[in-house]
Symmetry: C2
Subunit: 170 residues, 2 copies
């Protein structure tokens, strides 16, 4: 898939084939793409918790209000920020760019994916810290669900809006 076309056609997938999930090779490719994101001073202040245990996926469905499809999808990747590795406070930025790379890589591989927000919702952040046993300084930032789509792909409508563009001054 062409990079520009991929950027324009990626969309959130919320319906998955429950009898099939992504392969280990696909998982590695997703993580490689994620970790190639830029980061302040190249500190790479991120970690990834890959969940494929049906028990934990079921817990995630109960704990996250917008992830009712995660058990069907079969794989959840929690993108975390690592405060201890970060240049200044850029752990609040860099892991999100890695997450977006991962989301796009899934699209490029013909997989379905959906970004389910965690950070900066404080209660949800605490929930995932507990669920995954995250150490101090590791902040769960996004839950990315990945799997084999059960719906035919339909390209999204354009969100381009010239009212959101300003030149030289607001």
């Amino acid at each position: 898939m062409d990079l520009l076309q991929g950027l324009l056609t990626r969309r959130s997938i919320r319906s998955y084939q429950s009898h099939e999930k992504i392969s280990k090779e696909e998982l590695v490719d997703l993580l490689k793409a994620a970790m190639q994101a830029p980061s302040a001073m190249n500190k790479q202040p991120w970690s990834f918790v890959v969940v494929d245990s049906p028990d934990i996926l079921e817990k995630i469905e109960k704990l996250h209000p917008y992830a009712a499809f995660v058990k069907d999808a079969g794989t959840a990747i929690i993108v975390c920020g690592n405060r201890a590795d970060s240049y200044e406070e850029y752990w609040k930025v860099d892991p999100l760019l890695a997450g977006q790379n991962l989301l796009l890589a899934a699209h490029g591989m013909g997989l379905g994916a959906c970004w389910c927000g965690i950070y900066p919702d404080e209660a949800r952040t605490q929930t995932f810290i507990k669920l995954l046993g995250l150490p101090e300084n590791v902040i769960p930032m996004a839950l990315i669900v990945v799997g084999i789509p059960s719906v035919p792909f339909v390209a999204p409508t354009s969100r381009y809006d010239t009212k959101k563009v300003h030149f030289n001054k607001w």
Copy 2:
């Protein structure tokens, strides 16, 4: 360029041809890719300030500690979060994903680009609010420099690190 290859080969470009800059058509393509990012409840809480005035680019060089090449590049795009449009606090997340899309689109188009952090550095955020005359509720989050590279492209080394991956629990 293939999407997966693009994700793996994008790198920050800090050396630009000063006699040439991106075209209006290229700018529109970058912004279209940016605005196709996902956002919480599809609220799209972002705005973009495109700077190509040499005077303002020169000011940015003085005000930002890591953007000494922005005047040569000829174009700076300040990705902003819009608190008033946001679902909950996700203006802290969504515009960054749009910024990453823009960075990748530049790579896909053979342009050079570099992400220069603003948010969450409080002083730098205030500096750009003043420089661009941003209204209340609009937060400058990243300065993305875009231009025609003056250096031959060299693929980056892999940042894939298995120590950053955990399975089911930390």
